[in-house]
């Protein structure tokens, strides 16, 4: 059983090779998580597993058993877009939109990491309780999410607008 976007899903995982990404896309019928490479190279498949960002293509569906998964379909509230999603639109943080679900989920997970004091390569101080989300921090921490359309400036602006001053 996997809780996907708040709803428990009883789906038998018949093929143990099935990745969480294929499980979500094929069995659960959610195509928000995208397959860009299926080998951990692009970040398009990023989802939140118990609130932390993971690459769904490198996670076996079986590993998610008994846990909660949030995909881009589940980040808004009550049918409204999350402010981060609104900010992506307002800053034109995408063109084709294929990397976007991964960028959105990754940004949410990243903001949480920052709040928890997880440092990055560019963080000034290891062991600080939390970090300022500078543009450099955002760029460094989001670098696992490729955007071939090159919407990076808009994505960083959207994340900054949403989270600077700390995640809500």
């Amino acid at each position: 059983m996997i809780v996907i976007n708040g709803t428990p899903h009883e789906i038998a995982i018949t093929d143990p090779r099935r990745s969480l990404l294929d499980h979500l896309r094929t069995d659960a019928g959610l195509h928000g998580p995208k397959k860009g490479c299926d080998q951990g190279g692009c970040g398009a498949c990023t989802v939140l597993l118990d609130g932390r960002r993971v690459l769904a293509c490198l996670t076996l569906a079986a590993q998610a058993d008994g846990r909660t998964v949030t995909t881009v379909e589940g980040v808004g509230r009550d049918g409204d877009l999350d402010p981060l999603q609104e900010a992506f639109i307002n800053h034109d943080g995408f063109q084709c939109g294929y990397c976007t679900p991964g960028q959105v989920c990754s940004a949410i997970g990243m903001a949480d990491e920052v709040a928890r004091g997880v440092p990055s390569r560019v963080s000034p101080e290891i062991g600080a309780a939390s970090f300022d989300l500078s543009p450099d921090e955002i760029r460094e921490r989001m670098s696992g999410n490729l955007c071939r359309c090159g919407a990076y400036n808009g994505i960083v602006a959207a994340i900054e607008e949403t989270y600077v001053g700390g995640p809500r």
């Binding site: 998580p33 398009a44 995909t71 881009v72 609104e86 063109q95 939109g97 294929y98 990397c99």
Partner: protein, 738 residues
């Protein structure tokens, strides 16, 4: 005509909510009942013959539905080339018709199974044996004496004006250098995906990630001998294309496999198949030689380029095009050559020709400026021609000098130190570079559109066009709203389906103007039809299309005269809606004039003294591309192109093993596209002067933004370090001189 025009406004993308919420369904996600899944088996050798295919194990693997090889593939005709304007292929290689191998990665079998995992597994059990033939793989061994292609994108492969070599020898100052750029791969994040469902023996629907709907439909008709109207191609959302999502073998194989399996088949290419089954940008070797007099006159401009194609392909990438158009010179010596190799067919990739060609030319100009001890921007100003330098045609609009001036002011070019290796911040050397950009304006012939107005006061524009992220749906709705005289929210734009009127491929930065020209024609047809419907007591009675204007949701006599709303005309005629359809006028605007987009790229880099790492720290692109319809989506187009240019400058390189012809770095972990950390804030600006000859006074913006980028970076690296790197990408080993 809108009293309050929406063209020029930064309207948000129409598909934004669908894309940020995961609701947008890309090709691999469109539900099709009863779909089986396919996997390609690809050649592991570059040249030779298949001597045997053992399917015993694969056939008995769980879930296998069908396997197709050249033994049981149906007869299929050759797909027409993109350049013919009938098709969308880059190769004339037959698809699974014989035992011959033309490149490493050529599909040799397609396995269809119930699930993707089963197809993958069964494909791994297909055993293919080959008799190897000698492969043409080593560019350096084959480039000498490479032949001239028949043409370069329809232009002459060589342009000789005066005796450029003699002028070069006689010149006071000379630059004569060779520049190299490697193979590139488009790497759209959405891999190619296709689903084909046959309805009967004569008709099918193909859902495809494509930038050439109409031309894919025509290709399937040709390849499978079907009637055009029995083929439907659907492509709603495309996850990036950049010139690569045209017609390749995988769509044809998917269609043939679906017929064999007698059920719908979906084929999604793996990331490594994207690298090996489809082709990227050719590598190039380019000699640029410039001769100048002491006063800064260019006496000789020589640009010789050698590029590659696959076997049986015909696309000579137009590297020498910038040299034909940018600068005035006394003599020109322009020549292109091609080397046929056992590689995938080379294809168009964002700003084909101009992007890599400008790397050579614009670095050479920088080298000449240094020798003459003139600011490189000033030098370009001296070379500014009065008319197209190699055809003599007048330019429809060329405001490059103004772009130089305004760009330099905005970037602070005057503060640059012209002495290389003279500015440092800790371990980082700082340098600035500049390069000019140009890209031809094209409007491909053949596009159509329809415009439907309804009694509830809405209008719907339809054309089989493409939205790969350029903002097509948004900017076309803006244009149509103004043209029809309607508020933006009453205009729908439908695209992505061959049931709509035929469209041109999305390529050559030509789609926007091509659609606009067809909407103009459709609107005219619609207006004529509406006028026919007016009754004799209407103020419009007897008026022709030239007597009226469209505004306020209706048709009115010119100059503020009386008229009727559409709903009124339709209701009185007892109609719910009315459609006009039209074909774009032939693109005659380029007959007498040279039409190009222009721009200038300024950049600042920081180069690490110890590691040789190059970081781009600042960017300004200043563009002259006519009127901009939507500043928001145009900014993203320019930025995206600059990002891809930075990738080509610093990190991108598709590596073929010269022994086996196999792509070695066929993953996104090993082919390095720029990531967030590589990209600083990119400033873009434009002049916005309308081009009087272009529909809507606008020219393409998708590709010119990539031109000059790699040269600007290389010139900045030289300014920072004193090291001139003529071989892309500029990796740390080259910076350190290792």
């Amino acid at each position: 005509m809108n009293a309050d025009p929406v063209v020029g406004r930064a309207v948000p993308r129409r598909d934004g909510p669908a894309k940020v919420s995961g609701a947008a369904a890309f090709t691999a996600e469109v539900p099709v009942e009863g779909t089986a899944h396919a996997k390609l088996v690809c050649s592991t050798v570059a040249a030779g013959e298949i001597t045997g295919i053992d399917l015993t194990e694969a056939r008995s693997a769980p879930g296998v539905v069908a396997i197709m090889t050249h033994h049981n593939a149906p007869a299929m005709r050759i797909a027409p080339l993109l350049i013919t304007l009938r098709g969308a292929s880059f190769t004339r290689a037959p698809v699974m018709q014989d035992a011959r191998i033309r490149w490493n990665g050529q599909p040799v079998a397609i396995v269809v199974a119930e699930t993707p995992e089963q197809a993958d597994h069964a494909a791994s059990l297909v055993r293919v044996s080959y008799a190897l033939a000698e492969a043409r793989l080593v560019f350096d061994d084959l480039k000498a004496g490479a032949p001239q292609p028949d043409h370069v994108q329809g232009e002459a492969p060589a342009v000789m004006i005066g005796d450029a070599e003699a002028a070069l020898r006689a010149a006071d100052t000379r630059v004569d250098q060779v520049y190299r750029t490697p193979w590139h791969t488009h790497c759209a994040i959405e891999p190619h995906a296709t689903t084909v469902a046959w309805h009967d023996d004569r008709s099918l629907t193909m859902w495809d990630a494509t930038q050439a709907i109409t031309h894919s439909q025509a290709t399937l008709a040709e390849v499978f001998s079907l009637d055009l109207e029995n083929i439907r191609v659907v492509s709603q959302f495309v996850g990036g294309a950049f010139g690569n999502k045209m017609m390749w073998s995988h769509q044809i194989l998917c269609a043939a496999a679906a017929r064999l399996a007698q059920r719908p088949v979906r084929l999604v290419l793996s990331r490594s198949d994207v690298f090996r089954v489809t082709g990227g940008r050719t590598r190039t070797e380019q000699r640029v030689a410039l001769g100048a007099r002491a006063d800064g006159t260019l006496t000789a401009l020589i640009h010789e380029a050698t590029t590659t194609t696959g076997i049986s392909d015909g696309f000579a990438e137009q590297c020498t095009f910038p040299a034909r158009v940018l600068y005035g010179a006394d003599t020109f010596g322009i020549d292109q050559r091609v080397v046929e190799l056992h590689t995938p067919a080379n294809s168009s990739m964002r700003a084909p020709g101009e992007s890599v060609g400008s790397f050579a030319l614009e670095c050479a100009i920088d080298e000449l400026a240094e020798q003459l001890d003139v600011d490189p921007l000033d030098l370009r100003t001296r070379f500014e021609p009065a008319a197209h330098p190699t055809t003599g045609k007048p330019f429809s609009a060329r405001h490059l000098l103004e772009a130089y001036r305004l760009g330099a002011e905005r970037f602070g070019w005057a503060e640059r130190s012209s002495a290389p290796r003279s500015r440092r911040d800790g371990p980082w050397w700082i340098g600035q570079g500049v390069a000019t950009a140009t890209y031809p304006y094209t409007r491909m012939p053949g596009g159509r559109a329809s415009v439907t107005v309804s009694a509830d006061g809405h209008a719907t524009v339809r054309t089989a066009a493409h939205e790969m992220g350029m903002g097509t749906a948004t900017v076309q709705a803006q244009y149509a709203a103004d043209h029809l005289g309607l508020p933006l929210d009453r205009v729908h734009f439908e695209y992505g389906d061959s049931r709509h009127p035929a469209a041109v491929p999305a390529g050559g930065s030509a789609q926007t103007v091509s659609i606009i020209a067809s909407v103009v024609a459709a609107t005219r047809a619609l207006t004529a039809e509406l006028l026919r419907l007016t009754s004799s007591d209407s103020p419009l009675a007897g008026a022709g299309t030239d007597d009226v204007e469209l505004r306020d949701g209706g048709i009115y006599l010119r100059d503020g005269g009386a008229g009727q709303s559409w709903p009124d005309i339709l209701r009185r005629a007892g109609r719910d809606e009315l459609t006009g359809e039209g074909a774009a006028s032939p693109p005659t605007e380029t007959a007498q004039h040279a039409m190009h987009s222009f721009g200038v790229q300024f950049c600042e880099v920081r180069v690490h003294d110890v590691t040789g790492e190059v970081r781009v720290s600042r960017w300004l692109g200043m563009f002259d591309t006519g009127r901009i319809i939507n500043p928001r989506t145009a900014t993203s187009q320019f930025r995206g192109a600059i990002v891809m240019g930075i990738g080509s400058a610093l990190s991108e390189e598709t590596i073929f093993d010269e022994r086996t012809g196999r792509v070695l770095n066929a993953t996104l972990a090993e082919y390095h596209v720029p990531v967030h950390a590589d990209i600083p804030p990119i400033e873009v600006a434009w002049l916005g002067h309308p081009d009087p000859l272009a529909p809507m006074a606008g020219k393409g913006v998708g590709e010119v933004g990539m031109v000059g980028v790699a040269a600007a970076v290389a010139n900045a690296v030289y300014n920072a370090t004193g090291r001139r790197i003529r071989d892309l990408p500029i990796t740390p080993d080259k910076v350190l001189g290792l």
